[in-house]
């Protein structure tokens, strides 16, 4: 889906999320956009989010393993 096709968030919301979590703001913003988008069911939105989070956990574990 093109970026222009997605629902945009009000800029105050985006700024607040970026302020609170610069590292994961994209993930969260995409998730809220999916929730708002009536083309995307909540379960699909949740699936997408969980696969993003799993990737983050894997990267963390990889990072810990390489430190060890």
């Amino acid at each position: 889906m093109k970026m222009e096709d997605t629902m945009k968030l009000q800029s105050d919301i985006i700024n607040l999320i970026k302020e609170k979590t610069p590292q994961y703001s994209d993930t969260l913003i995409s998730y809220i956009q999916d929730i708002e988008d009536n083309r995307v069911s909540n379960s699909n939105a949740n699936e997408r989010l969980m696969s993003n989070i799993e990737r983050m956990v894997l990267e963390e574990n990889r990072g810990e393993a390489s430190d060890n």
Partner: protein, 673 residues
Amino acid sequence: MIIKLIKFSDFRQFYGEHEIDFGIGNKNTTLIIGANGNGKTGIFRALMFVLYGDTLLDQDNDAADINIINLDKLDENKNSPVKSKVELIFEYNNENYLIKREIVGIKSGNKTKTKKTEPELYIIETQGELSPYTKEPVQLFINRILDPKIREFFFFDAERMQLLDTTKSKKSLSEEIQEGITRLLQIKYLQEAINELDKLKRNKQREINKQVNSKDIDDKSREKEELQDKVKEYEGALEILRREKRDIDTEISAIQIELSKNNEIKELQDKITDKRIILNKNKENRGLHKEKISEKLKEGIQLLGKDILLKNEQNFRDYLDKSSDNIPLALLEQSVDQDSCALCKADVKKGSVQYFSIKKLIDNYKSSELTPIINDILTTSSNLGPRVIPYKRDVEKLLKELAANQNDIYETQLAIETLEEQIKEYASNVDNLTILEKQLKDFEKDSKDYSEKISINESQIQLRNDKIESIDKEIEELTSKFVKVKKDNALKQYLDDFKTILEDTMKEYSYTITLELSDEIYDTFMNLLDKKDSINYKEVTINDKFEIKLMNRIDQNVIQDLSMGQSQIFTLAFILSLAKLASKGRNEINFPLFMDTPFARLSRENRNNLIKNIPSLTNQWILLLSDTEFTSNEKELFEKYNQVGKLYLLNNYEGRTTIEAYNKLSELDLEGY
């Protein structure tokens, strides 16, 4: 969203094909003028039909009376299908689209059967070719652009649209407003995301618990679930309590406003009460005065005889001289007893000559019965003399005081009568006032009771939530010891962190955006309102339940006291402000403001303010005006502000409407229209 062109054929009064171009850019105002019945609302219907498939509007009472397909066309083609079609070209997200929708009807005898077709949507490519839009169902796309639940805010039927329509229940009003605010400002979607994250988190925890298979964890999970159920119960009860308290508080505000209008009556009543206290006091004093005068008069009876006494004083003295009992017997006896003369103190020893002389007087003493009386009279007469003047003075003083008191009583009674006459003018309100005051007391007591119950509920919820939190920590601690669930724990932690971030975001955002919205609504309302009215209002407030209040200078919510016209302007201010804030960073939110007969209820100054300000507050302004709403005043103003991009006049001849386009306002002459 920018609407560019609408075409319709055989739609309502519009026989044959017609089209309307809409003003855009810095000439974003479109005027469509027509007398009642000429088809203005028909254009509004065409827009609702093509976008949402609506064949009815809110104002329609009886579905059977609304014919979408032109009746003449149906009559001309009896028993054959007749198609009524509407097409709309619009721009959204820098892309141009064409949407079309049709309705087909067959008239047989007196009955007409109709069927709507599915809408078709095309992307208009750069060269003008049409590519069908296939990414998703058309209606889904349109609803995504402008959610049907909030479209009424932008397609403004002024005859019907009142944010504060008192014919609607309070519940449905606040739900509509809440819907508008939470959708457009995206608070709804933040909350939905939070709820989903919560569900994901719980599911993940359940998965972890299953894998771990620990009795301790199971017990704690069960305990937690029981607590959560209890919390839900309390939250349900709390919601009801809060709603009921809100209703009561609304009643209280309404009564307070009513009572304040009746302050004059209350003041009059208080004055009457004060006057009655004074009157009673004066009457008491009058009683005292009367007693004093009565006593004084008794004293004065003696003075009545004074002149007579004076006249006869000499006669009395002569009588005493002649009588032999000038010396009272008591003195003679005293002289003998005390061995000395009671008068001159000479010795009167027993056996002396003087002794025997006095004894002889005693033995021969014959008193005259008159002597003591005459003596009394003479004494009284001599005492009366000096008393006359002071007595007269006293009596005069008492009489003056009595007169003054009587005058006070009279004046107070007159004042009371005057006040009672004034109150009679408000006769019917006096009883209401008493009833309202009683109701207010009862409601205030109820409100206080509700506050207490709400507080108890809240603390019960907090208690259980604290316990739930502590159980969660215990469960986490127990599960973290199990290596096999380490990854799931990590996932759950992310979900938890994201949920917290979004909760904080929503809290801050809701708080600041509703403050901004309140200020924006107030500023816009002040700009659009008559100057003489605008000084009455201090601010707009929106609480966390999205209830809107308009506060006057003495901190009363006067939103229910707005006139129809003011209410309409307030609604406009709300819509424009909401759209402005919602569109921060999102151009696609800027919807056209489509207004059907907007000026009917507005004063001249209101209309002027709208014409001056609205083009700059919205993307596009499309007005359907009746001929009576478009006077020379409006024409001059539209010319002055030079925002009108397109101008049309609807003419109706024998039931068929035609659309006449004008290039300039100056060309339009409604004389004899």
